[in-house]
Symmetry: C2
Subunit: 360 residues, 2 copies
């Protein structure tokens, strides 16, 4: 590798002995001799066939994911039981040694800081035994930027009743999709035991642009009707408006129901327009929604406990932190921003390949 050779002076493609072209302009087939161009077209036809084989590959991967979802499920069921307090894990099931050093370090740290405040702190620490792991999912929602952006204060007491989030894959032979199921315990807000959001996917190269195919993509989603108790719907708010009568000049106050920011708007998404004609805002909201659905499926549900403890957030930022330790904070910090946790879930950056390369 020649470290001295920058991108600026890179040689440009020069096929068929043509003159070089300025940086940034993609090489165009049309400058090739006719006979060569013809052969390039033959390769493009082959490439198109590859895209269709690739689509079949991803369908099989989806099947494999369905198969493995069944293998994960007993572990996720156990997780739910521990979280809700339905089951108390045995001592053996709770053995966890690898972070002892960490805990000792932390204990040391706490000891150092806790001088005078010691007695006071002890008072505050709730040493009682609550049921299960209180606020398990709410804590996750509040820890992950992408979700905490959606969660409003009025959503929090409702999310305390969230018992589990599950991902269900479409059956074989059905159009490809996955469903997020949000399981709630009985609560004073709505009657539904489960709120659902279905994400419809497509694993098929588009005839008009077969080469952009990179694997299944979310193409649409569908929420569900929430059966709110009277006056408990946090997705709307009542505003009072003063109206002046044009003729008489009398003033009266009218109440009007308007949309309200809430996580629960997640279950009432914008509809994807079939002809692709949408205003920019709706497009942005829908793209964000797809990203969030993808994030629930790929990260939150499979590794919830790590988002609860913060370890998954640390992992996502590990580069940044490693570099920070070495010195020049500000510069590295800026670079690190590209690799942050939300960046990791940017679906545009994602590759459908199951391999990554990392140095041991």
């Amino acid at each position: 590798m020649d470290a001295n050779k920058g991108k600026g002076d890179q040689a440009m493609p020069n096929p068929g002995g043509q003159m070089g072209k300025p940086v940034g302009v993609p090489f165009m087939e049309s400058v090739l001799p006719k006979a060569v161009k013809r052969r390039v077209h033959a390769l493009k036809r082959l490439q198109e066939q590859c895209a269709h084989i690739e689509a079949k590959f991803y369908e099989e991967v989806h099947e494999l994911e369905r198969k493995y979802a069944a293998l994960y499920q007993p572990l996720f069921d156990k997780r739910r039981e521990v979280v809700t307090g339905a089951v108390e894990p045995t001592d053996e099931e709770c053995e966890w040694h690898t972070d002892e050093d960490e805990e000792e370090e932390l204990a040391e740290e706490v000891k150092e800081k806790a001088t005078i405040e010691d007695a006071k702190k002890e008072e505050v620490t709730p040493e009682e035994d609550p049921k299960g792991i209180p606020d398990f999912w709410l804590t996750i929602f509040k820890s992950v930027d992408m979700l905490s952006d959606m969660v409003q204060e009025h959503d929090e007491p409702i999310l305390k009743h969230l018992r589990d989030i599950q991902v269900k894959f479409s059956e074989p032979g059905q159009p490809m999709s996955f469903t997020l199921e949000f399981h709630f315990e009985p609560n004073g807000y709505f009657n539904n035991a489960v709120l659902t959001k279905v994400y419809k996917m497509k694993s098929e190269p588009e005839a008009s642009d077969p080469f952009s195919f990179e694997g299944p993509e979310i193409i649409d989603c569908e929420g569900c009707q929430i059966d709110w108790h009277k006056g408990k719907d946090v997705t709307v708010k009542i505003i009072k408006k003063k109206q002046k009568h044009k003729g008489r000049g009398t003033v009266r106050t009218v109440t009007k129901q308007v949309p309200n920011d809430s996580f629960f708007n997640f279950f009432n998404p914008v509809k994807a327009s079939p002809d692709g004609e949408m205003d920019e805002d709706s497009e942005f909201n829908l793209a964000t929604d797809f990203e969030i659905g993808h994030f629930f499926r790929e990260r939150i549900v499979p590794r919830a406990v790590l988002y609860f403890t913060g370890e998954a957030l640390e992992d996502d930022e590990s580069f940044e932190e490693e570099e920070l330790e070495e010195g020049d904070e500000e510069e590295q910090d800026e670079e690190g921003d590209d690799d942050d946790e939300e960046g990791d879930t940017d679906p545009k950056k994602e590759q459908p390949q199951p391999a990554e390369c990392k140095q041991q």
Copy 2:
């Protein structure tokens, strides 16, 4: 979605009624009541089991990739035959309609610019019929930044003899790996018909850090011995050095063989140190090498023609271009650099999941 709620004022996790902590500090289990912490440890054990199931999943995906490699192979064989000129595709095989508009546009453009220079240009354009697609792989090497950084001027005449690049997957039951095979036609530089680079992979959570597991990763690589013809080895150069005899003061010229920048150093990589102790430069070089291996496997080999025509490069930069059309070129251009083709292959950004979400 609340657009007004920035990341700055996001609520922090506050499990068990503890005080909020400053942004950036991950939530620590140790502040939880003992009984709850115990249950969190139970969840972490379950999570560890998930990582091992996930490892099996990726092994099955690898098998699936092997299966599909066999399905792609006839198409890649055909590609090689067309590229080398061994086979002339039929008219039907060369039909390619979708870019007609594009070509017409281009033809218009060319017509506009070509006024006086017309006759001159005609002369230069080689309308002869070369064999196959000349410089197919060399053009790709020179078009892709990650590769063009490695290719030196003295490598180019050698790379003109590259006929094909193939990816071979390890057999079932063998340790997971893939091999890049660079097939050369007989040439005046070396005797090897095939140069190989093996990338060894691991799909197994590390006992010390099971939660960082994200799928198979490259852990080591191995090159091959190139049997250079005498005086043709471009990976070394002879330098002349004048030496002065300490006592007598006479000067003599000695020749010394030193390493030389060359793409062919790719076949003589740094060895990964088994204990992880390496100097920074070697670590960087190895990480770059793994990235390049991964890029050959995932992008170059499966879609070579699109790198030849530049379409894959365009795809990688599509955001940039869309934005460029709207006006402020310079600013957008800079931003686009983060999304460029090399960024897409940054293995740290890659997710092992086969799904991406994109708006229709």
